[in-house]
């Protein structure tokens, strides 16, 4: 009986190890979302044109060197404040193709109304 119990324990352990290996392999196989750095400065986004692929998960990483800015991509209901000294991130997977306008939605100065860009999803 003692032997059987040990054998079952060993078998379970081996099985668990095998499963965790599979999980690890699966995790390793998933592509890491592409990071896209965007600087929001007076009064432009750099880059002002962002290219992504339909179904591709990306992480937008924003910084603002001067004053608080906003990023608003209304067609995807995405927005964030961008506070100087902090990195703001937005992760998303575009589910439609086309050209979409994003803009600064925090009034930031005399050039605020020209501060916009385009997201191109191909």
């Amino acid at each position: 009986m003692v032997v059987d119990t040990r054998r079952r324990t060993l078998m379970c352990a081996a099985g668990a190890l095998a499963l965790s290996s599979v999980a690890a392999l699966t995790l390793a196989a998933e592509p890491k979302p592409r990071a896209i750095k965007v600087v929001a400065k007076k009064f432009e986004f750099v880059p002002s044109e962002i290219h992504v692929t339909h179904g591709e998960t990306v992480i937008l990483q924003f910084t603002a060197p001067e004053v608080t800015m906003g990023f608003n991509l209304a067609d995807f209901k995405l927005r964030t404040d961008i506070v100087p000294g902090q990195v703001a991130t937005l992760e998303f997977t575009p589910d439609k193709t086309g050209t979409f306008t994003f803009l600064c939605d925090v009034f930031c100065g005399k050039g605020h109304e020209d501060m916009s860009g385009t997201l191109i999803v191909s």
């Binding site: 608080t68 608003n72 209304a74 067609d75 404040d81 979409f100 306008t101 803009l103 939605d105 009034f107």
Partner: protein, 299 residues
């Protein structure tokens, strides 16, 4: 001159543009009439988005348009009960000294208006860079209420926060004010930005505007007049009508009609096209508002 005579005069003189009637249906009005006695009709003038200090090709007469509008309002045969400017009195500047200079010049020009009182609310160009500080110095509070002939007017400030929020404090103030009104009160709201998501892609929205609309919804007689989008626009959110006014500096395109929200070009063949102000005839008994668009210059 009676209301009808005045409206007829405007049409004949070439002042009157499209007339828009906002309010309840005739059936509802009739049903409501017995308990809605004691109201006097009146009218007021709304001017918006004068952007004093703007210079550029979209308006080669940027320094002449506002004085022309003031003269046009003064020329109306029957004086309005009051006048209101719904924001962006001045064009934005990063220089606080220049901002105050523009506000002082604007105040001097509109002091020529014969009708008093003249009321003001801020736009983001006036208030977003200093949270309304300069505006308050020149024009007083950024949100307030007033009564006129049975109508309760509420002025909301959705621009002093550069993120285009009314904010929890103002929303609580609005809720408290509305609690003091009878459910069937005649309520008119003034704001600069639209309270609903007209076109967020061009920042034509108020981040928490839906909360204000939600607070207003229990009241059946609410109408909103606003500016910001430099063109006439009419939309309902439930039973609440929202009417935007034309600008007095340059018109903007219809939402989404072009890639960017750049001003429509000045047309030398039709100067001041797309610019103007409006007269609003309030008929509180029926909770109805008749809007007449008036161009800067006679056609």
């Amino acid at each position: 001159m009676s209301r009808f005579d005045r409206r007829q005069f405007l049409q004949l003189a070439g002042f009157g543009g499209a007339v828009w009637v906002s309010g309840l249906s005739a059936e509802v009005c009739a049903a409501d009439a017995p308990k809605a006695t004691g109201y006097d009709d009146f009218y007021f003038v709304q001017l918006s988005d004068t952007h004093w200090g703007f210079e550029g090709p979209p308006n080669p007469d940027a320094r002449g348009t506002l004085p022309k509008a003031v003269a046009a309002v003064n020329a109306i045969p029957q004086s309005p009960d009051f006048i209101i400017f719904t924001g962006d009195l001045t064009h934005t500047t990063d220089d606080p000294k220049e901002r105050r200079k523009r506000m002082g010049e604007f105040r001097d020009i509109v002091s020529e208006l014969k009708v008093k009182p003249v009321r003001f609310i801020p736009g983001e160009h006036d208030a977003s860079l200093d949270n309304g500080k300069a505006f308050k110095e020149f024009f007083g509070p950024t949100n307030y209420t007033f009564e006129h002939k049975g109508v309760h007017f509420i002025v909301l400030d959705n621009v002093s926060d550069p993120s285009a929020r009314l904010g929890d404090e103002q929303l609580a103030w609005l809720a408290d004010d509305l609690k003091m009104q009878p459910q069937d009160a005649r309520i008119v709201v003034f704001a600069h930005r639209p309270l609903f998501d007209l076109y967020p892609q061009w920042d034509w929205a108020t981040r928490d505007g839906a909360k204000a609309v939600e607070l207003l919804m229990p009241h059946p007689n609410v109408t909103v007049f606003y500016g910001h989008i430099h063109q006439e626009h009419h939309q309902m959110t439930g039973h609440i009508a929202h009417h935007s006014a034309k600008s007095l500096i340059f018109p903007l395109p219809v939402a989404g009609s072009q890639p960017k929200r750049t001003p429509l070009p000045w047309d030398p063949a039709q100067p001041y096209r797309g610019l103007g102000f409006r007269e609003i005839e309030a008929e509180p008994r029926k909770a109805e508002y008749v809007i007449t668009e008036v161009p800067v210059q006679r056609a």
